[in-house]
Amino acid sequence: MAYDYEKSIRPGKLPHIWCPGCGHGIVLKGLIRAMDTCELDRDKTAVVSGIGCASRLPGYLDACTLHTAHGRAAAFATGIKMAKPEMTVLCVGGDGDGTAIGGNHFIHACRRNINMTYVIMNNYIYGMTGGQFSPCTPTGMKASTTPYGNPDPIFDISKLAIGAGATYVARTTAFHATQIDKLIAEGIKHKGMAVIEVLDDCPTSYGRRNKFRSVVEMMKRLKDIAVPVTAAAKMTDEQLEGKVLTGVLFKEERPEYTEQYAQLIQRVQGA
């Protein structure tokens, strides 16, 4: 039997809204497999997003889904998790949503080390509004608002998450489909803030402007630039030029926020 995705997809919602070749669908499938791996009870699972193409993902998933305002997913999700710590809380969204307008909420969720899993689809662009540059659009590349090439340096989302205090940070790409569910599942099982960055393709708004002839060419690029962290350890700086590390980039055990707060309540009530 082929993999049963339908049981997790709301009836009548396919085909989805994403453009031909958009990697978000690959991530959605990976997320479903990860949720299955972790045997999540969908009645007790909240999937929260902001605004943008990637943020339309929760609408397809048969769970408690919340499509919030631009950038605010992590803050809404924090409220859900604190009010009902027994729920599994997943955040999904894009690079612009998560690191520009939502950057503050993102880093503070990492800092608290609250037990959530944030899957951030980095396709280097604001897709839904027609291809404006994001904090992750590589310098020099074209977007509808960088017609002369992007002058801005980029955020490295995974490094940002590590620096801010997330205790599980992993990266993969839409090409490496089997790794998506493995890393997300590991993130869900991890107690604390887990961030999984998935490099992804926007053929319509990013590829078209930047001389990619097809989504296949964009996928091949993802394949080429990805270097597993284990392999990277044996490579020189020169060899790593232009490459992106994939796999589990960072993992540590640190007190988790909802547990810390529960202890605070116990302490206060005991006093």
Binding site: L66, T78, G79
Partner: protein, 377 residues
Amino acid sequence: MAKKIALLQGNDACAHGALYAGCTFFGGYPITPSTEVAEVMSQELPKVGGTFMQMEDEIAAMAAILGASLAGAKVLDATSGPGMSLKQELIGYACIAEITCVVVNVMRGGPSTGMPTGPSQSDMQQAKWGTHGDHAAIVLTPASCQELYEETGRAFNMAEKYRMPVQIQIDEIGAHMRERVEFAEPGELEVIDREVTTLSPEEYEPYADTESIVAPLAPFGSGYRYHVTGLNKSADGFPTTKAELVAHEEQRQIDKVALNAADIEKNEEYQLEDAEVVLFAYGTTSRSARYAVNELRKEGVKAGMFRPLTMWPFPEKRIAELADQAKAIVCAEMNLGQMVIEIDRVAKGNCVVAHIGRVDGEPINPGQIIDKVKEVL
């Protein structure tokens, strides 16, 4: 058992009112002159097993309470002008997604940073129209510490009943003055909790039409899986652009307040029976107005006061009646003319409508009001 009585400042009374109403989650961000609400909640919530979250910014505070509310908590946020401006988008989100919450705005003047420690009533139109798009608003304007305690409870009741944000507008004087507050015994004041659906998860639609027009909320995690979005949606919660569905949902959200205005409205009428001049005042300004009424009566002027405790929805019907009855309605408020716009609209030229405003960080005193009344008559 003797009742618990305490000398509390308004912000503290507000926090204790929220606790009485069963608030279990506070999300906030420090801002003068509202911070004491957060401080009391940080002290008290853990004692009752509740959660206090000081978030990374004002927007996050608003987002956190909405998330917690969806998970079933009774939620509060307290802020002041600049914070209120930042929260506006998510106030709108709470309107369209119909998420129960109470937001306190301790008004401090502005625009921008304004006068953080000075009183003001200049966010009254923002309270109604601050967020974009058509939407209903419920806004309460208590005038004493005791009233803040009790009206905060009413704000929760309205929010729970009508599944929407309810705002409490306090001026800085109301927030920081200290008065005797009598705590209510359990069961003494009405506490309304949001209706729970009786439908099975298969039958359940989060935004379906019901008799009360307010669809019963199923908290996340309670076995009902549904979708919440800030997009225009149909009854099933999913986005739609179908004209008739969008129009229906927008209208229902306006109607749930408009059709229940009698339940939501609350006013105090002071010496209005024979009043020829009506003072329209709210918040702490109403204290000066009450004094002015008493002084004017001593001089033989038939003055009275109309004091809304619910400012929005605006008490149109009663103001129209008073415009027919009186020679003049004089609106006293610490701004340059906000609620007077509504009075003027509703009075339709049937009486003189005058305004006393003040934005210099000082309260409106009775003398100012008396002078204005004499000038108008």
